[in-house]
Symmetry: none
Subunit: 223 residues, 2 copies
DNA sequence: CAGATTCATGACAGTTGCGTGACAAAAACG
DNA sequence: CGTTTTTGTCACGCAACTGTCATGAATCTG
């Protein structure tokens, strides 16, 4: 899921944006000042940042500069001011786009998508690490203690699904639904594939450390 | 010098934009229709393209799609229509930005700069090396262990597409889409061309080291 | 403790995915 | 216009994968 951070001091506007973004399928969270925004982004890096220009304390321009200092995240200015000078200054400061409030959420969403398309092209492959287990969804590659392991498509999908919800239990029904697309079916099928997956990714398949069974509940992937 | 191509059918607006862009220090040239624009861009590739949506013949959306088919040049839509639906559609088609006419030249210039900053970061290096395999996209040349190899156009495009996303899996669907422009089609077509490509670039085509198959997922190019 | 659940695992047959060679249509070339 | 090259389609065969089942172990329940 794509995380979007909204830095905007007006509570109503911020909440409206957050709600609309969530509606569009983003994981959205907010900050009421530049300082808070910078802090939150440091704790939990966003994939996109929306920022207002008129902020109490540190203003939007300075906020953008500070973000840009050590991050390449796509930044969109959402401002009420339709002023060439502001637009130029914001873009010069390092913003990627500038939209005028009020903005249609569909447009905003499309602009965010276009930006991420650009940003992603340059980004290296992302890897999820679970101790000695490394998963790179984009490269279609899984490593155990650095050694590449060959997984079948179903095993790979299953692992990705579990990794996506790392630390959380997924029932066999949920897995059937998400990995196989079955609305109904034999839950034993999941067991079999979990077993095969364990043979490949666990040091001791009989005593799994990552892919553990929660009797009566389902399976989960942990560190 | 940065070259900007302006695709706009209204003579006055096009000339005004060209003059203003030259004032800003760009090398600007124009086209009065999508067809002419595509042709001119092919002859003399621009660093940025401005395009109007309402064009005689091929419309702006289609123009964008055709440009995107084999180029990653930053595209800005300059339109009189302030309509969310148009904006979303243009961005979906592959545009990077959308501004409403009339637009301040300073703003336009700043947006172009911001876009190029992104595009440059994402632009693939002209020569990519994968062990004994060297790809020079601009020169249209491929070498294996220093020896030049003759590829057909499709093989070359396929290789470039894979190289562009080096290390990442591309599904047959994605390749059909990106290399052939087919939205739908027989996926075996990809297999065949991958096979032919392997004959030319792999030391041992039966055991490929660079262009590897990920069963059920697709193909990827690696070092 | 006995019976009932729940899960792990090995075997197996049917299915799928992929590589390859052959061939005709289409395009490029001279 | 004929020749050569490239492209897309097809069919075949092998290897790998998938899903089902049976069996037995582990765990829960009363």
């Amino acid at each position: 899921m794509t995380a979007v951070l909204v830095i905007e001091d007006d509570d109503r506007i911020r909440l409206a944006l957050l709600l609309a973004l969530e509606e569009e399928g983003y994981a959205a969270y907010g900050a009421a000042s530049a300082e808070e925004g910078l802090r939150r982004h440091q704790q939990e890096p966003a994939d996109n940042i929306l920022v207002d220009l008129m902020l109490p304390g540190l203003d939007g321009f300075e906020c953008i500069r500070q973000l840009r200092r050590d991050d390449d995240v796509p930044i969109v200015v959402v401002s009420a001011r339709d002023d060439t000078h502001d637009i130029v200054a914001a873009l010069e400061a390092g913003a990627d786009d500038y939209v005028i409030k009020p903005v249609a959420i569909k447009e905003l969403s499309a602009r965010l998508r276009a930006l991420r398309r650009r940003a992603r092209a340059a980004s290296p492959v992302s890897v999820q690490v679970f101790g000695d287990l490394e998963i790179s969804a984009e490269a279609g590659e899984v490593r155990v203690s650095g050694r590449p392991v060959a997984l079948t498509r179903t095993e790979f999908r299953l692992l990705c699904e579990l990794a996506l919800h790392a630390g959380k239990v997924l029932s066999r029904q949920q897995l059937l639904q998400r990995v196989w697309g079955y609305d109904t079916g034999d839950e034993r099928l999941v067991d079999v594939h979990v077993g095969r997956l364990r043979q490949k990714i666990e040091q001791d398949p009989a005593n799994p450390r990552h892919l553990v069974t929660l009797r009566g509940l389902g399976y989960k992937l942990q560190r």
